[in-house]
Structure formats: structure tokens, C-alpha cells
Amino acid sequence: MTALTDRDTTAPAPLAPAPAAPAGRRRRTAHAVPAAVAAAGLVVLVVSPGTPAVLLAVVAVAASIAELTRRLRVQSSAAADLEAQRLDLLTLGQSTASELEVATRMMRARAQTMTSVIDAVTEQSIIGTDRDGLIRVWNPGAERMLGLPRAEVVRLRSITDFHAPEELDPEDGSPAGPADRFAALVRGAQEHGSDVRDWTYLTADGRRLTVSVAITPRTDDDGEQAGWNFVGTDMTEARATERLKDQFVSLISHELRTPLSSILGYLELVLDDEEQPLTDEQRQYLNTVERNAQRLLRLVGDLLFTAQVDAGKLTLQPEDVDLAGIVRAAEETARVTAAARGVAVVLDVPAEGLVVRGDALRLGQACDNLVSNAVKFTPSGGQVTLQLGTGWRDADGGVTDGASPGATPVAVLSVRDTGMGIPTGEQGRLFTSFFRASTARRNAVPGVGLGLTITKAITTAHGGTLGVTSAEGRGTTFTLALPLG
């Protein structure tokens, strides 16, 4: 083994092999090397009992310095790592802070947008509560509707303070606390996810308002329910108008139908009196009276029917109905009038019939309207064709002869006339109540403009469609399609 071993070329200069020992004094030795020095990887000097004490001290110092240097180097390296980590964290922190700032700005902007939207609503009340009903949001619409500023309500009042208590108290009259009343208020929304119905709001000045309130749950950022939203629209006037309309309809029903009952009843007694037969002339006069009474009765019926449709109270009594029979009956009803006017009515219906599901009375009414209209709007010498068959209705509501993907089978009744037609610009308003085409007014065709409204309502109630094509001066075709099967 050589006297000198260099394991660390990066060792500092003072620790280089000590030249102090003369070559002649070098000798091989089996003495152990101090472990710390060896572990330090320093230059190792093999010593013997004859090695001078100074040299040994120098070696020891050198070893200590080497150890310290090594530790220093390790610490420096660790410090550098820490610095790098600090810089990374700093960068990350700055980036996170920046993102946080952006997110905060966005949140503020969103909150500002929400607030401005809610504050812009002045015709509807928007009230937000916590889960117990304590008011947290009170928009200008609520201020206006209920007559209290936000500052007097938010975090101070419960939503139930503004509700008529009798609507929230148990029906059995047992006492209810605020929590019970609030539970009653949100029960519908709790059971169905949301709830829209009329409630009675109590205003600060003691008025009672009928308000249509949409109640929905409000969740926080974690998706947990934080409370409830109450969006209210004041329906007080609208509901009063509806009540007036109902009263009017009731009035028409009673006050017009009752005298008509007398007129028609006594006419029947006179016309059918076998003991005192009428002269032909008397019978003709009374038949005229009866015809006009029946006309008035139809008008009353049409007004009542339109009011029912408007109120969403049109009810059907569905059964299997042979549409062919209904079309034949409509032709029969119109036959006398058509003949008197010199209008030919051509019937083309399947002999085997065509059954649809529907209300026979209402479908008959719809067919009668279409046929009598066609006859009424066709001048002498013209023709009305009633054609019944099957077809297909596509997703857009168009009716065709052939099937196409997604199309459903329908019964198709077309009522085609060679009459005065309807100007193109007016066709879109044909189904509006009391609308009368200019051609009808110019030609003094009698009517009030309810027949097509009623026919359309009946068709729609059956899940069907009613379409029109027309050319002024050439005629009109109405196409009524009803679902088959």
C-alpha cells in the first residue's frame, strides 16, 4: 500500500499531502487511521509512533477543518435547496394570490351582477330567506309591493310576517308557531322541488294582495341548502278581472239562456199544438222567430265556450268516435242552407268509417263550423268538398300523404271551398277571437268571428292541428288532422 492516497481531488489546498515529511522517514505501517478522518475522505497521512506531535496536530486540525468544510458544504447545499424551494413557494404564492384575486374579482362582479339584476326587478318581489325563514334578501320589488325598506326587514323579519296567517295555520284550527307556519309555506317546494301558487301577502299599510309566488330552495357554494327564494308577482288585479269575467260568463249563461228557454219553449208549444193548427203563413213567421232564437242561442254558446277555453276549463269526454259519421252529419246539417244558396256540397268519406279518440259533441261542433263556414263563404254556383282520409303528421306539424321518419298517423279532414278566399296577410289572425277577414266584411257574410277560434281550440284539445291554405278570389281549404290510435 502506498503512503499517500488521494480520494478527494477537490480537497482544499492546505490539506494537500504534507510535504513536510522527508522521503527517507517514510515507512510502511499497519497503524489504524482515525475513522472520522477516513470517513471525511481527506488526505490520509499514515503515522507511526515516531511521527512528530506537531504534524499530528496539524493533521487533526486539517481533519476538523475538512469535516467542518464538508458540513458547511452540506448546509450550503441544503440552504440553496431551501432558497430554491422558497423561491418556488414565492412564485406559487404569487401565482395563487393572482388567481385568488382574479377569482375574487369575478365573484365580486358576479355578486354585483346578481345584485344589480335583483335590484332592477321592481315589478316582482324577490325575497330570500335562511332555512328558518329569516329574510336575507329584499329587493326593490319587495319594497314596492310590501311597503317596507330593506333596512327594516333584512335579518329582522320572517317571511311569514308578510303572509296571511290563516293560509299557513293548520286547517283544524290548532295553534301554529312561526316555525310551523314557515314549514307550511315551503312544504310544497320541499316535496316537489319548487312550488308556484297564489298566496295572500299583507302589506305594511294593511292591504291584502293576491300574489303568485314561486318558491325554490337556495343552495350555498357547497351545494348545501342555505334557505329559500320567494319570487312574487302581484296578481290582485288580474285575479279580480278573472273573477269579473267568470261573473260575466255566469251572467250570460243565466240571463241570456233563460229568456231564450222561454222563447224556444213557447214557440215549440205553439208550433206543435195539434188542437189549434197554425196557418202556413203563421208557421212561416214563427219558424223565422225560432231560427233566429236558435242563432242567438248558438252565439251565447260560442261566447261561453270561448270563455271556458280562455279560462283553461275546456274539458273533453273522450270515446271512440267515427269521424266519417260526424262529417256526414255536418254535411246533412249544412245541406239545406247550401241548397238555398246554390252551393254544391261534395262528400268523400270512407264507407267503412274512420275511428278516432275524441269528444263526439265537440268534434261535431268543429266539423259543423268548418262546413257551415265554407258554405257561407262560397257564392252561388260554387262547390264545397269534404274529404276524409288518413295521412301522416311530421314533427313540424305538417300533414302529408306519405310516412316520413318520426311522422305519426293522423285522420285528415279537408274542407275545400271555391269561395272568396282570405287575403294572405290576414291568414295568421284567422284563429283569433272576433277576427273577421276583410273579404267577409266586404261581402257582408254574417258572423262574429268565434267559429274558427272554437274549432282550433277543439282541435288542439284533441292533440290535433288545424291548417289553412287560401287564395283570394279562388277559395280556401281548411285541413284538420287528428291523431289516430
Binding site: T258, I263, L269
Partner: protein, 128 residues
């Protein structure tokens, strides 16, 4: 020979009331009372014990529906037949009338011949 069926007529419209009386006679019945409101109808029903009552639904104070319900609640009058007349002709109107205990319902305006048929049909079920 069977005694003529006894019929009570109640309608606040005099013209209709008279018309109904004519129809009752045409049907072979006898009008035992013809009154203008529900309270009178109830009182007459308890004294006259008619076989059939022809009642207008819309009468002042006590409606035809209420008369019908009270007749059914009283064992003395519960067996009488009731025919309601009304200007209301919707399925709901008819359902309300039948729920009140009426045996038949006729919407105004009604054909006199139709009323005659109804009176005959309802009184034919009355034991002689």
C-alpha cells in the same frame, strides 16, 4: 186507474215555471205547487209530499242544489224524485247536480218534448 203523479215545480222565472207546468200536464202529471224559490219549495215538499220535484238550480236564497240535498237528508222527503233544470250545461254542472242527489238534469234551453219525456220517465218509476 192510477192517480196522476204529483209534481212540484220551482223556478224563479215565472215564464219558465209556467212552461214547466204545461210540460208536466202534457206528461199526465198534476202540479201540486208551483213556487219561485228554494225555501218555498222545501216547505211545499214537506206538506204536499210530491212524487217529483222539478227544480231550477239558480234560485235566490236557497238554490235547487241545496233543496235537493235537504230533501235527501229528510226521511220524509228522501224518496221523492228530483229533476234539476239549469242554464249551466257543463259536465261539472251536471256532476254537481247529480252529486246533490238529483235523479236527472236538463240544461236550459230544453225542448218541451224532452221535458215531457223526462217527467214521464221519472214518474213511471214511482210506485202507484
Amino acid at each position: 186507474m192510477d192517480a196522476p203523479v204529483r209534481v212540484l215545480v220551482a223556478d224563479d222565472e215565472e215564464d219558465i215555471r209556467l212552461l214547466v207546468c204545461v210540460a208536466v200536464r202534457k206528461a199526465g202529471g198534476t202540479v201540486v205547487a208551483a213556487v219561485a224559490d228554494g225555501a218555498q219549495a222545501l216547505a211545499a215538499a214537506r206538506t204536499e209530499r210530491p212524487d217529483l220535484l222539478v227544480l231550477d238550480v239558480s234560485m235566490p236564497e236557497v238554490s235547487g242544489l241545496e233543496v235537493c240535498e235537504q230533501l235527501r237528508a229528510d226521511p220524509a222527503t228522501a224518496g221523492a224524485r228530483v229533476l234539476l233544470l239549469s242554464a249551466g250545461a257543463s259536465p261539472d254542472d251536471i256532476a254537481r247536480g247529480l252529486a246533490a242527489g238529483a235523479d236527472a238534469y236538463l240544461a236550459k234551453p230544453f225542448p218541451v218534448a224532452g221535458l215531457v219525456d223526462q217527467v214521464r220517465r221519472l214518474t213511471a218509476r214511482t210506485p202507484a
